[in-house]
Each structure stands twice: as C-alpha cells, then as structure tokens.
C-alpha cells in the first residue's frame, strides 16, 4: 500500500485556530452567496467564461495599479523600501485579496466596469468568429482619409488605442487608461492603503506616488473616450446618414454612435447586449428608427446564442413606445434605481 505523505497539510494549532476564526466570520455569508447563485436577480446569464474573465480583469487592474504605484515611488520619488521595490518589479498581484476581504472591491461602479469589459471581450470574440480582425480594422481605417482632418485624427487615435490594448482571443487584461477616472481615483487610493499595509512602508512618498499616478492618468487615451469623440465628429459629418453597425464601425465605434444617438451610455448598451435576446438593444434600435434589415444584421453580428430577430417581431414594437422606453433608460441611473425601489416598496398613498 502506498504510503501517503500528510506533511503538506499538517497545520500547527495556531494556524488552525486562526483559520477557524476567519471561516467563522466568512461563513456567515454562506447563505447570501448561495442565494445569489441560486436566485439571481438580474436576469443576465453569467457564464463561467464571463465570470473567469471578470476575475482575471479585476486582478489585472489591481496588479497594474500596485505595480505602477510602487514603480513611481521607487523611480520618481526615491523610495528604497524592499517590499515596495518587490511589488513594483513583480508580476504577482498582492493587494487583491486584502481589498476583497475588506469589501473595497464590492463597489457597484467598479463591478459594472469589470462586467462591461468582460462582455466587450465576449462580443469581440463573437464578431471575430464571423469576420476577420483585418476586416474589422479596415472599416475604421477608411476614416483615415476623411476630408475633415479632425475626423481623420480621431480615427487614427482610436486605431492606435485599440492596437495598444493588445487584444487576443481568450485573454483579457487591463489597460489602465481604459479605466474610468472616478473608478481609477478610488481604486488607486484603496490600493495605496493596501500596499502600505502589506509593505509596512508608511512613507508619505507613497501617497505622493499615488498623486503622481493620478495626475499621469490621461482619460483621452481610453478606447471609449476616443470612440465617443469620433462618433461625435461623424455625427456632424456626412456619416450621420449611415446606420451604425458593429461590422462597419467596429464594436467600440458602433456602441459610441448608438450611445450618442440614444443618449444612453456605452456601459448601458454593453449590458443590453448581455441580456436575453438583447431585448433592450432591439428596442433602442427601433427607437432610433433603424430599419428591420439593418437591425437584424446588427442583431446577428452581436448574437452568440443562435437567437433570431425576425422582421415581424421587430416591427411589432411600437416606435413611440420604444422612444419612451429609451428615454426612460437615459435618465440618471440613481433616479431609475430610486424610482424602482420606491415603486416596489412603497405603494402609493391614497387620498
């Protein structure tokens, strides 16, 4: 009989007691975790791939921030603390678990951004199954010869940003310039606090490095930002007559053009594409007056579940109703949330 070696799982009493305490605290959330898994409230199907990509993106984002922070501290401010140097040079992620345990990653804006990025990867994969990367880039490159110099420059900037993002099928990583500034601002300070705790380095220079990191962030470099600018310029040029399409425009510009016309955000539209049958995206297209042929083409390009949008079901949607619904979705999200909660929890008082 093979002799088994138990030394690897041997724990001393102190370690076991520590873990017991931790599990005692965390197991209190067991039912809420199970509840969320069994009874999801959103109606969105979170596939294993999407969850995996989300985790990967979040870890990548935190890893990039802690690494950049420590490099700034070392290279720009002369910090020589060994742990800071190590974090700056390492490809490991140090702060993620600390931030997660402290509940600092459980922020709705942050999680929405993470989900949207993972969903965009999903959508890009779907497009690439139907069209080649070259075809998708050629459409954007056609704007490089635009007679309006500003349009040409904005198209070039978007192309550069997309290429820098270094997207590869099956991989997701975070490029910090794509993180919205408000999220980035909060996360940098959270990571700074975590790095200070992990390293034991309490030098004010670490905070100064965080300020440097924030001041160096350039929102204009983000893909969404550049796509929005190009969409705005095209909307004033002759291209406003053309229908936005993920194949003709590429995913980012398509979302930005629809967002501009519908007054919705790119994040909202990306979430719509993750919903069953992309129902809300279809309603938005109807509200924008996109013909059934174009709407079906857009739907087919973005769909990944073999669903079909028929001309009859598209035309069945009342355009007036679609406009009202789209208009409602464009209201501030805090207002929409409050409206929903008030409607469900506080029935109207009679008289």
């Amino acid at each position: 009989m093979e002799k088994r070696d138990f030394s690897a799982v041997e724990n001393d009493g102190f370690d076991l007691a520590k873990k017991a305490g931790e599990y005692g605290a965390s197991s209190a959330f067991l039912t809420s975790d199970l509840s969320n898994a069994l009874f999801p409230e959103s109606g969105l199907y979170l596939s294993d791939r999407l969850l995996s990509n989300s985790r990967q993106y979040l870890r990548s984002m935190i890893g990039e921030i802690e690494s950049q922070l420590c490099l700034k501290a070392v290279e720009n401010l002369g910090v020589v603390h060994a742990s800071i140097v190590e974090i700056g040079n390492s490809s490991m992620v140090y702060c993620h678990d600390h931030l997660r345990n402290a509940g600092l990653l459980n922020q709705s804006d942050l999680l929405e951004h993470v989900f949207v990025q993972a969903q965009k990867v999903e959508l890009t994969n779907r497009l690439l199954q139907k069209f080649s990367q070259e075809n998708l880039e050629n459409s954007l490159a056609s704007h490089l010869d635009h007679e309006d110099q500003n349009v040409a420059e904005a198209a070039m900037a978007l192309l550069v940003s997309r290429n820098r993002s270094g997207f590869q099928i099956g991989q997701i990583s975070c490029r910090l310039s794509d993180v919205p500034v408000e999220i980035y601002h909060d996360l940098v300070w959270s990571v700074t606090a975590a790095v200070q705790k992990i390293s034991g380095c309490s030098e004010p220079k670490l905070l100064a490095a965080a300020e440097l990191l924030l001041a160096g962030h350039d929102e204009s470099q983000s893909i969404d930002n550049r796509a929005q600018r190009l969409a705005g310029l095209l909307d004033h040029a002759e291209a406003s007559a053309t229908i936005p399409h993920p194949i003709k425009d590429g995913l980012d510009l398509f979302l930005a053009r629809i967002a501009l016309r519908s007054q919705l955000s790119i994040n909202q539209l990306t979430i719509f594409t993750a919903e069953p049958n992309m129902a809300r995206l279809v309603v938005v297209m109807r509200a924008l007056g996109i013909t059934e042929i174009d709407a079906i083409s857009v739907f087919t390009a973005l769909d990944g579940s073999g669903n079909i949008l028929t001309p009859a079901s598209y035309k069945e949607i009342s355009r007036d109703q679609a406009i009202v619904m789209t208009d409602n979705w464009s209201k501030p999200s805090a207002f929409q949330t409050a409206e929903r909660k008030l409607a469900s929890n506080h029935p109207e008082i009679d008289g």
Binding site: D148, Q149, N150, V181, E182, Y184, H185, E211, L214, A215, H217, D218, E219, S220, N225, Q228, R229, G232, L233, H236
Partner: protein
Amino acid sequence: MSSAHNLAEPIKGRLDVDGRLVSADPLLLRLHLHSGGFEGGPLAIPQLANLCRLSKKLGMNLSRPVKAADDDNNLNLWVETRIEPDSDGGLSISIVDWKETPLSRNYNNDEQRQRDFDRLNARGMIRTDTALRITSISLPGKVRLSEHSIGSALLDVFAVVKPSKPTLFTESIAERQPVRNHHVSLLLDPDSKYILSGQPLVDNLGVYSGYRFSVEKLNDESSDSGNSESTKPSLISDSLFGAQLGPALRQPLGKIIANAETIGSQLEGPLRGDYASYAKDIAAAGRHLMDLVNDLSDLEAIERPEFTVAPDEIDLIDLAHRASGLLTVKAADHQIRVDLPDEDSEMPALGEFRRVLQILVNLLGNAIRYSPDGSVIKIRVDRNGDRAEISVSDQGDGIPEEDQHKIFEKFERLGRSGDGGSGLGLFISRRLAKAMDGSLSVKSAKGKGATFTLSLPLRTKKGSE
C-alpha cells in the same frame, strides 16, 4: 445645419487655483463673457466649470464632451483638462473640437418672455406660417383683429405704405431675409399705421417655418410729417420725445450700444484691456441714455391730459413672475435670488397689463440695483379690503424717513449717480399707479432695506364672490 470652427490648433485657456480664467483664446473668452463672466473672473460656462472642478477634485486629467450654448447656437465641444503640476493648483483647458448647431427657438418660455418684452415696449407681435398666413396676432393699442385676421395672408390684412416700398418688402420675404422698419397700415383702417420688423423662423430640423414680426404703433405725425405739421402743430410740440426725438435717438443709440458691446466683448479679435474697458463704458453710457430717452417718452405721455390706461383683468402673481423673468440675467449677474409667490395661486386685480408690468420691472430693477450681491429680494402679494397689493422688498441700505417722499419726485437721485438710474422711474411708476386708481408707497428704514408696495383695485372673480 451645423458648422465647425476650423481648429487647426486647439482653443486654449488657463484657470488659476481659485478657478478664475486668467488667459483664454478669443473663442473661449467670448463664450465666457456671453455666459456672464468677466475678464479674470471665475469661469462662467457652467458645464466647463463643472468639468474643471471635477478635474481639480480628482487631481486627474479629463477628456470629455461638453455641451454649451451661445447666442443662437448649441455648442458641442470636446474638452481636455490638464493639471499643471508646477503651477500650484492651476489647470489648463484645451478644446479640441468646437461644433455649432443652430439653437431651437421653439421653447414656450422664450416665446412668452419675448411677448413680455414686446408688451413692455408697447409692441405687438405677428406670427405667420410659411405661406405668410397669420397664425397669431396681437397689436398695440385697442385694435383687436385676431378673430378676423387669423388664417388670412399678411398682405390681405396690411398694406405696405410710403415711405416703405411694397416690392422691397415682398422681395425680402421671398428671400427669407429679415425685414426692418417697414411702414404698413391696416387695410380695414388705413389710419392705423404701424412699423413692422420681422425675422424668418426655422424649426428644430432647420427648415424655414414662417416669420415672426414685431409691430410698433406709428403716430400720424411721425409717419407723415408734412401733413401733420400743418394740421396738428400742437401735438408735435406736445410729443417731442414720444414722436420725434425718441425714435430719432433710439436708432443711433442702439447702434452705439451694439457696436460698443461687440468691441468690448472682443468678438472681432483680441484688444488691449483698457480699450475693451472703454468700450464697455461706452455701452453702459449708451444704455443709460437709452433708458433716459424711454423714461422721458413715458414722462411726456403720462403728463398729457388725454393719457388713459386700460382696465385689463390682470393677475399680480403672474405679472410678478413675468417681471422676474425679464430681469433674470440682471439678478443672476449679482447672485441675487428673487423669492416669488407660488405660481399656482392668484391675486386678481384691475390695471393695464403693460403698465403694471412696467412698474414691477422698475421696482424689481431698483431692488436689484441697490441690493448687495448674494442677497434675496422678496415679492409678496396681499389682499387689503378692496385692494390687491404687491410688494417688493430688498435687503439694501434702505431710505431714511426724511428722504422717502423725495424719491417719487422727478429727477430725484438722493445724491446717487453713476448707477444707471435716470431719477424718473419711481415718479413715472407712481403716476401710472394713480392713473390706474392705485397707489405706490414705500416703507423703509436706514440700513434695513426697503419695501415698495403697489396697490390696485381688487378684481372680483365672476361667480366666486
């Protein structure tokens, strides 16, 4: 219908640590001035200021679309902010895209505000459709044409008369050009003559949708001076300002003010700071003279024995809101809040709509002029027996008791000068109030603000009381 400034180079600006615009390229400076700002003052373009505040709060560079408006255009800008690490809290602005789209003028509030201005200046208004058929009309004076003229072609109701030329008028309309100062008369009543000026209208899609004309009553003696001089010599001397000097002065004064404002705002390009300042002084002096001309015309009118007012059925609360609407910009310039009665309530009274509005604009304008910046002006209504009263209270320096009777005298300024007043406003307002069987009084104490109260006959609602 949109246009883009050719931004070979981004438009630049710079804010200091306190958010003051310390340098700006001409386009940005123009927008800042049009938004109520002044050179070296806090950035006055709200959307841009918000972006800069966020950038400074986060300590991060932002790059976002910004929507603003200037005169008749919506502006779609793409703005980048840059934190200046070496400038101790300064921030630079770079506008990389600048797109202009004509502003829709079909807002109800704008229409109502324009109508109020027209009524305040004794002007009427005519709206037409694309075929020049009248869709709405209100004429100064007692002529009520609406029932008959709505739907009629403009030139079936009015005839272009000398010295204006009918062909010039129709050609301008055909070419969708603005028309100015055309003399017309009513076909049904050729003695009723008016001056017609109009602008073509465009709808939300930028399509021509008709004309909006303003209509001013033309006195016989000014329209046909040759005849009237011989037949009505006394009226000419009686109406020196209303009929002759007033119109003769208003036009050149209007041009002086407009040109001085253009120079002062540096719309045509940058200018030495002291020259721009002189131009603003010229514009201010021009506006003062224009107010004086208007006041003298009014003074002359109310001192005529035949001066009468119309007993319109008015609502003092509605008029308070209209007067406040006309002075919104002036109050905002001084961060003054006007506290108004609830718009849904009513205080019915009898008095000529235009004249009561004129009195309220005068009272509210004075209150703004003599109140400290950031203060509150309260307008309240009350019923006192068979009188309806409206009061305007400010938080200014107040008026000593011994001076309170003087302020209603002609040209009495209580030693103040250089604040834009003519010393005629309260005199005219009290005379107008009396002509409407009302009164205008003041209660004040030095250092405790002043409350002016207009009292008018209460209008009893039919069937309710």
